[in-house]
Amino acid sequence: MIGSKKKPEQGKISTASMPDIIFMLLIFFMVSTVFREYRGIPVKIPSTVNAQKIEGKRNIAYCYIDVSERISVDDKLMTPKEVTSIMYLKRTSNPRVVISMKIDENCKNDIVDKVQRALQEADARRIVYATKTR
């Protein structure tokens, strides 16, 4: 026969745009990532029906209280008086700060009240009782 048989063209998916797609994903994750600064102490937070989502991750300050009545803010154990001073600083540097209270469900309300008074003293009055959705 004259001429050679044409080889059937192989269908290949072009991967040229793959780096662009990966780049886009990368940028998305870079922008949305907020690094966790503090670990806190282990607490078992209560569960409720009406747990609302808190917006603005960057405005949240955490305050942990565990069963043995240890108070932890920014990974430092402190007394209610120290809570006042640190929360006052947070409040002045960011007026939109929301304090997320991660309190163990078996805590007594006594210590909760003490910390709340400390927060009132610091004028950091917007708080959230951290809970799980039931």
Binding site: L26, D110, V112, Y129
Partner: protein
């Protein structure tokens, strides 16, 4: 004369860029934590040194004691209920108060020895009853 050899164009090899970005992407994927901050929002009252007692209508007291028993009702007419009944009781009282032309205010009073989870449970029930006016007595 001999022909000058053509200068070769030098390109930076970009084929490994995809791999590098992939690596970065995986790093951010792993470190990102999906926000799961949920809770019951509450605004503490302003610090007041001298609290003057005021007469407001429509106040419903909710007491929680050291034995985690709950008393609920208007002043002087409180009765004991279980925590799960707080919502239905509040809705009843809300309707009753609304029919008198007032709006309900829930005043929560907890003793220092009561458990935090019961306090949160009461708050949750109040929110379930769609009542926003909450006062926290200390």
């Amino acid at each position: 004369m001999l022909n000058k050899p053509e200068k070769k164009k030098e390109d930076i090899n970009a084929s490994s860029m995809a791999d590098i970005t992939f690596l970065l992407l995986v790093f951010f994927l792993v470190t990102t934590t999906v926000s799961s901050d949920k809770g019951i929002k509450f605004v503490l009252p302003q610090k007041a040194d001298d609290v003057t007692p005021t007469k407001i209508k429509g106040v419903v007291n909710v007491f929680l004691n050291d034995d985690n028993q709950v008393l609920i009702g208007k002043k002087g007419k409180e009765e004991e209920v279980s925590i799960q009944q707080v919502k239905s009781k509040l809705m009843l009282l809300d309707r009753e108060i609304a029919s008198q032309g007032d709006s309900i205010i829930v005043s929560i009073k907890v003793t220092s020895g009561s458990l935090y989870k019961n306090y949160v449970e009461i708050l949750d029930q109040v929110k379930s009853a769609k009542i926003d006016r909450i006062s926290l007595a200390q």
